[in-house]
Amino acid sequence: MADAWIPLALTLKVAGWATLLNLIFGVALGYLLARTRFPGRDLLDAILTLPMVMPPTVLGYYLLVLLGRNGAFGAWLQSTFGINLIFTWQGAVLAAAIVAFPLTFKSARAAFEVVEPQYEQAARVLRIGEMAIFFRVTLPLAWRGILAGLLLAFARAAGEFGATLMVAGSIPGKTQTLSIAVYEAVQAGQDDLANFLVLVTSLTCIVVLLVAGRLVPGRVPGQS
């Protein structure tokens, strides 16, 4: 049962990278849609939410079509950089990141929308550039909502197995994450192993969620 360690480490690596990708793209797109108006904005929003609606296996299938050696993007990656994502942990990261993306994106957009524009104006007249305003005013004020989305994304990425299984396969030690291991244990009728792995998954995620929640200050000290 010490075997749990390797898939656990892999799961944390995959979910961590997926969350990082989410942080970058989810926050950027959430900000874009919260702060700019353009025709088709709502449509874009709905489209960016679609990965949530697809059964992960189906999503994984389309990713496979796209990223495979014979897929449009995969062929380009292969010929240009010699990179192949199928059956690699990087592929798992990509699958998990896409599945979890709407979580960060939607939370970030909602969080940015409730930031009072007046605070940004106050920074503007203090001669702070737009980029610095984003990092020093907007982002900190929206951070709580974004963090909630990121934690969900982490959890979702850690629990993902449908799309991951399709893209990365289930190779022990290489691409077999904890949730795929759980799935296989349940499938194999190994109830004890399944229960044990579920316990490991749950405890790990509880610890990660608790620690992440601690790292962030409350909205203001002195507030409950």
């Binding site: 059956f87 396969g169 190779i171 296989e184 194999a188």
Partner: protein
Amino acid sequence: AELTVSAAASLTNAFRELAPLYEAKHPDTKVQLNFAGSGALLQQIAKGAPVDVFASADQVTMNQAQEQGLIKADQRSDFVSNSLVVIVPLQGSGAPASIQDLAKPAYERVAIGLPASVPVGRYTKSVLEKAGLWAAIEPKMIGAQNVRQALDYVARGEVDAGFVYATDAAIMPDKVKVAFTAPTQDPILYPIAPVASAANAGAAKSFVDFVHTDEAQAVMAKYGFGKP
């Protein structure tokens, strides 16, 4: 070198035991096992996953692979057989004696792998159709995503009967009992073949040969598989 073997989910337990045996014989080769439903495995291979050996649970999937030129057809072989059985919960009252009994009202729910995507469901459907019972049983069908889900339903007593492989029934002798074996039109044979694009063609061929050895067959038999 690494040898990646994509094997049908129902081979999970047996292949996990086989791999170390093969590695012991070929110390320079590391076997990487990749399990999923046969259909998913085929799609992965078709889209360029770096797989060396493909072991499917049914002929239909392997035929598709062969048509698409994904495997080395000349090295394809059937390496184990399985049988379709009807199981009922162990504590349940009585058991059906024949396939006709399943049409009786006493059997309200019958777990069957989804015929469109799960090989065991495909076998089940053809057996029932041949017996002229498909129309009567289909309304009672509880679809399962794979064979193990059907097994779970029966083991937990959520359904009154279910169609699974003999190898699956053997996993939970304390929860399910086999009522009878349902004779399939064609024998259930598991095919194996090296993948055409295998990076490690030599090892792929040697693994395919290995599963036919007595040593490997003994392991397979332990999990309820028969000889081809």
